[in-house]
């Protein structure tokens, strides 16, 4: 059964905003070390919010690309394991445009969740 709103992403965003805007300034005054930890926590919740919102579609895209690249189906984990093996043994390398397109797209989706400001 579907949960009521807020969705996971909406609730995570509400918590992250509260921690950043209200809890962190108070902690900074009381104990800067805890203030720092709270920033880390709020930042991690923001990652989870983006993951809840963007993760399922990103995983599906990665899975489709991998199945096409490797010419077989399997779990995301199994397909990545096979790709990692091919890269370690040198069966594929950076001169393979299809490989690089897949990795570029996968890492673009990952960084959009983990740290969209990274450049």
């Amino acid at each position: 059964m579907a949960q009521d709103r807020p969705t996971a992403a909406e609730l995570l965003l509400a918590i992250a905003d509260f921690l950043r805007e209200e809890a962190t300034p108070a902690l900074d005054r009381a104990d800067p070390r805890l203030g720092f930890q709270m920033r880390v926590a709020a930042n991690s919740l923001a990652i989870l919010e983006r993951e809840a919102r963007l993760g399922p579609a990103a995983d599906a895209r990665e899975h489709d690309r991998l199945a096409k690249l490797l010419g077989r189906d399997g779990t995301l984990e199994a397909l990545n394991r096979e790709l990692a093996q091919q890269l370690r043994t040198g069966q594929r390398d950076e001169r393979d445009p299809a490989l690089m397109a897949h990795l570029d797209a996968t890492i673009a989706d990952k960084i959009a969740i983990a740290n969209p400001k990274w450049r």
Binding site: Q37, V40, A41, N43, S44, I47, E77, N80, R81, L83, A84, L87, R88, G90, D93, E94, L99, M100, L103, D104, T106, I107, K110, I111, A114, N115, W118, R119
Partner: protein
């Protein structure tokens, strides 16, 4: 029962008194940073009316007998490649005597002092916080100096007479690659981008150095102190080893150490060319740009795998830490950078 701080103050009064010759009183003792296993404390010792600003580095003795549980996952720590306090003390002493801007180490503690492996050095002014150095007004002039100073100091580090050093591991490119592969395997998670990068690195690895030097091993923004006049001291020597001098130059230029100042590869403060010119001008060897690029790619992969290791220390249960856990999600930053670097040739 005395608190940890009270115990340390008592021991410091004893050992500082012994070293400086006279009864010592201890003031302003504060824990600076570090995890549970590696501590840094700052304090003043007043002896014969003279105030000495000091730093204690210590690895506390493990509480009780070591816990061994067969089958438990042991974290792929960097411990095997990092120095113990006694060796770090000797490396620092040799570097300081060679004229490197580094803290002056004063004395080691003995096991009977009861604080674990520990030594005391002089406190040096400045901040290591990259965000402040890169953005705060007091450091505006220093920002124009740091890249060149880092090149000059590094040349001095690499010129340290090997005969003055304790026994150190000699690690060349091939050992480093094997080390990262091993750590990646311990994580047990397929990592296509790191595999691609390690294969790239393996195919292009530079020949072993004809003349290995003292490599700092963690020479980067965040690991030195600087004030309004620029760099005051190079810190964090526990990754020191013998090897290729270009390793330190490449590591300093890894994008993660620019802290947002991405267009200034030399630690966020200047160009690679300015860094290399300062290094060469201060007596460092000629820098081959292709070799420097290789070490920058290596450093990027190394930091990414360290991020995973840090998260794994939490995930394995050895240390409970939200902060360490969250570092695991930073590894992808280096994957972005690795894909960019591999495309830029080299």
């Amino acid at each position: 029962m005395p608190t940890e701080a009270e115990t340390i103050a008592n021991v410091m009064a004893n050992v500082a008194g012994r070293h400086f010759g006279g009864p010592a009183s201890i003031e302003h003792l504060v824990r600076e940073s570090g995890g549970a296993s590696r501590q840094t404390w700052s304090f003043d010792a007043i002896v014969n009316g003279e105030r000495h600003g000091l730093i204690l580095r210590r690895d506390p003795p493990p509480p009780g007998p070591p816990a061994v549980s067969p089958g438990a996952i042991s974290p792929p720590s960097e411990r095997s490649t990092s120095l113990d306090r006694a060796t770090e003390f000797r490396v620092l002493r040799a570097a300081f005597q060679a004229g490197v801007r580094a803290p002056e180490v004063l004395f080691e503690l003995s096991p009977t002092d009861g604080l674990g492996e520990a030594y005391v050095m002089r406190r040096i002014g400045g901040t290591a916080i990259a965000r402040k150095l890169l953005r705060d007004p007091p450091y505006a002039a220093a920002r124009g100096l740091i890249a060149v100073q880092l090149g000059e100091i590094l040349a001095r580090i690499h010129a340290t007479d090997l005969g003055t050093l304790p026994a150190l591991a000699h690690r060349e490119a091939a050992h480093h690659i094997a080390g990262l592969r091993h750590q990646l395997d311990l994580l047990g998670q397929p990592q296509p981008v790191f595999e691609l990068a390690l294969a790239w690195l393996d195919r292009r690895k530079p020949a072993p150095t004809a003349r290995p030097v003292l490599v700092h091993g963690d020479y980067r923004t965040g690991n030195y102190l600087a004030d309004e006049s620029g760099v005051t001291a190079i810190l964090d020597w526990e990754a020191a080893h013998l090897g290729d001098p270009i390793e330190d130059l490449g590591w300093l230029c890894v994008k993660s150490w620019r802290f947002g100042a991405v267009d200034k590869p030399a630690g966020g403060f200047g160009s690679r060319e300015a860094l290399w010119a300062a290094y060469e001008g201060a007596g460092g060897g000629k820098v081959d740009p292709a070799r420097a690029h290789w070490w920058e790619v290596f450093g990027t992969a190394r930091w990414g795998i360290i991020c995973h290791n840090q998260a794994f220390r939490h995930l394995s249960g050895s240390i409970k830490s939200m902060e360490l856990a969250s570092i695991g999600r930073r590894a992808v930053e280096t994957e972005v950078d690795l894909l960019q670097l591999l495309k830029s040739g080299g």
